[in-house]
């Protein structure tokens, strides 16, 4: 059967710049967090420049909590913080605008409490906390012309184009690395689904192993069956949500690797195929 091309409204989208600043690792006093058994621990991972964990690396097993790969950027002005969250899309181009790495180009790999940007190692070595990074946002308003009921969120049109999407029996099929059961979806259910991510709850370690979820990689595309992420994140039978794994595992109850929604819709329009290579490192050809 001849493959039908995937049509989108990409030509009508706006390319608009939003600036963020490289964040400083921060802790609340006294710094400890409780793990699943109530034990107090201190781990790095969130904020700042993470030099040795990158998109494509494993999401589990690090001595860290909610590890944000690459560079985490944010703004201390609350309204700008929200502009970063609502406008920046995965796959967007990033340009360093100040400091030693000025002029260097990176790529957005996801959104956690801050926006995550990948740069090559020699650029990372030059980046300082506080450096300004401009994102050329592109993707807000993206729609699939033949699938008006599928909602797209926070993906650059180039990422959409590179995702190996197929139409089979009038259904859009997305390659994903793994499926997550809806009952392990946790922290993030309290937020609107345009903001940040939702953690899978990795506290049941033996289930993680049994379902091979513990082999998840940062940047993996995943699917959650019976999840409706259109206007919030909730259980709804026969809705599908596709997401990207954006941060590493957590020791806290109700937390775990974070997934950021990129597509959501009814099961009759949207399906998936397991492909272990469905990771944005491969899809966007990210240079490490």
């Amino acid at each position: 059967m001849k493959q039908k091309s995937i049509k989108s409204n990409a030509k009508t989208l706006i390319k608009m710049v939003v600036a963020g600043y490289v964040s400083q690792p921060s802790f609340r006093s006294p710094g400890y967090i409780p793990d699943n058994d109530g034990k107090s621990v201190i781990y790095p991972g969130m904020f700042g420049v993470v030099n040795n964990v990158k998109v494509g690396d494993k999401a589990f097993g690090w001595a860290g909590d909610h590890i944000e790969p690459g560079v985490s950027i944010d703004s201390e002005h609350i309204n700008e913080h929200f502009a970063l969250h609502y406008m920046v899309c995965t796959g967007n181009k990033a340009i360093v605008r100040s400091g030693e790495a000025k002029g260097s180009i990176g790529i957005v790999t996801g959104e956690h409490a801050r926006n995550l940007v990948h740069f090559e190692q020699n650029t990372l070595d030059k980046i300082c906390v506080g450096d300004q990074i401009d994102i050329i946002t592109h993707g807000r308003g993206l729609k699939l012309l033949d699938f008006p009921d599928i909602e797209l969120k926070k993906i650059d049109p180039n990422l959409l184009k590179s995702m190996n999407l197929k139409i089979v029996d009038k259904k859009l099929i997305v390659d994903v690395a793994m499926e997550l059961p809806i009952r392990i979806m946790g922290s993030g259910a309290e937020l609107n689904s345009e903001y940040v991510d939702q953690d899978l709850m990795s506290g049941d370690r033996s289930l993680m192993k049994k379902l091979k979820i513990d082999q998840m990689r940062l940047g993996d595309l995943i699917v959650i069956n019976h999840a409706d992420h259109r206007w919030g994140r909730s259980f709804k039978k026969d809705y599908i949500s596709i997401a990207i794994c954006i941060h590493g595992d957590s020791v806290m109850t109700g937390h775990g690797p974070g997934i950021m929604t990129i597509m959501t819709g009814k099961r009759k329009n949207l399906g998936w195929k397991i492909n272990k290579k469905a990771n944005i490192k491969n899809i966007l050809k990210v240079k490490i």
């Binding site: 409204n9 009508t12 989208l13 706006i14 390319k15 608009m16 710049v17 939003v18 600036a19 703004s75 002005h77 609350i78 309204n79 700008e80 913080h81 929200f82 502009a83 969250h85 609502y86 406008m87 340009i95 605008r97 002029g103 300004q132 401009d134 050329i136 946002t137 807000r140 308003g141 993206l142 729609k143 937020l191 609107n192 345009e194 903001y195 206007w231």
Partner: protein, 292 residues
């Protein structure tokens, strides 16, 4: 007959703004706005550097809510920003003072109104790639106080003498003949009515598509010079029979009720001393030295 002005008496004052960042409200507020049918939407809106929309492009069809083409600037405090917004005139020269695009020249193409209050500047696309959020931009403002000889009731607003000179306005039978791309009936004017006409924007209402087609408004471009019937922007924006106003399309259409393309008012009079000539070329890109 050509028009004569008091251009030589105008004061040229520098005003400054910085390239501004888009803003959204914090949680638990939802990020969505409502379209005219009540459906929520989340789309890029005013501010920032917009790379792929420029004056001369269509004002319709973008996945956007009243986007400003090119670059938008603001001053950090309210009174200073008001100074920037009032004194900047369409057609004024703007120069980038900091960052990688330092010394590049652009021109003011419009202003935005209540809730955003920014000045909109055109720079060529290649220059825009070098511009960063927070870069300082200086406008050599000139135009406030502009008057036209024998037309004392005509108020010029946000209008640089340079642009006025290029607008091909002629005088015939004691009336100004102004080339415009579209004539807009007063009942299609929405957001902005009742607000100040010295700065900010007035928006066309685009919810009723049949009316839009009737007046051929769907093909409107950013930078078009348009005429509003029965509308008085002498001091504030409001309805008045036989009054008129002309303005420039400064920002794109949007999905909200009352928020179609934005107009920066350039001239207005309470008396019917102007006539229009429909000319599709009545766009700022044909009046000011323009590089896309």
């Amino acid at each position: 007959m050509k028009i004569e002005t008091n251009e030589k008496l105008l004061v040229n004052v520098s005003v400054m703004g910085s390239v501004c960042q888009p803003n959204f409200q914090s949680l638990p507020a939802e990020p969505y706005r409502l379209d005219s049918d009540g459906n929520p939407f989340l789309l890029p809106s005013w501010g920032s550097i917009v790379h792929n929309v420029s004056v001369g492009d269509s004002a319709f069809g973008w996945e956007a809510d009243c986007i400003h083409p090119g670059v938008s600037i603001k001053y950090s405090n309210e009174a200073g920003n008001r100074g920037l917004n009032i004194l900047s005139c369409v057609g004024n020269e703007a120069m980038i003072m900091t960052g990688s695009a330092k010394n590049s020249i652009g021109f003011v193409s419009g202003k935005s109104g209540r809730f955003s209050e920014q000045v909109i500047i055109h720079f060529p696309k290649k220059i825009r790639e070098k511009i960063s959020i927070n870069d300082k931009i200086l406008i050599k403002s000139i135009g406030v106080g502009l008057k036209i000889k024998n037309f004392e009731t005509v108020f010029c607003k946000s209008l640089s003498p340079k642009l006025l000179k290029q607008m091909n306005i002629k005088i015939s039978n004691k009336k100004m003949m102004i080339p415009v791309t579209h004539v807009i009936p007063e009942y299609l004017i929405g957001a902005g009515s009742g607000l100040t006409s010295e700065s900010g924007s007035l928006h066309i209402q685009t919810t009723d598509n049949l009316e839009m087609r009737k007046y051929n408004l769907n093909n409107m471009k950013l930078g078009d010079i348009v005429y509003i019937e029965n509308y008085d922007s002498s001091y504030q924006h409001g309805f008045l029979r036989n009054a008129w106003a002309i303005g420039i399309i400064g920002q794109t259409n949007g999905p909200r009720a009352g928020y179609g393309p934005g107009i920066t008012i350039l001239m207005s009079s309470k008396t019917s001393n102007a006539k229009t000539k429909i000319d599709p070329k009545a766009n700022i890109v044909n009046y000011i030295k323009f590089v896309k």
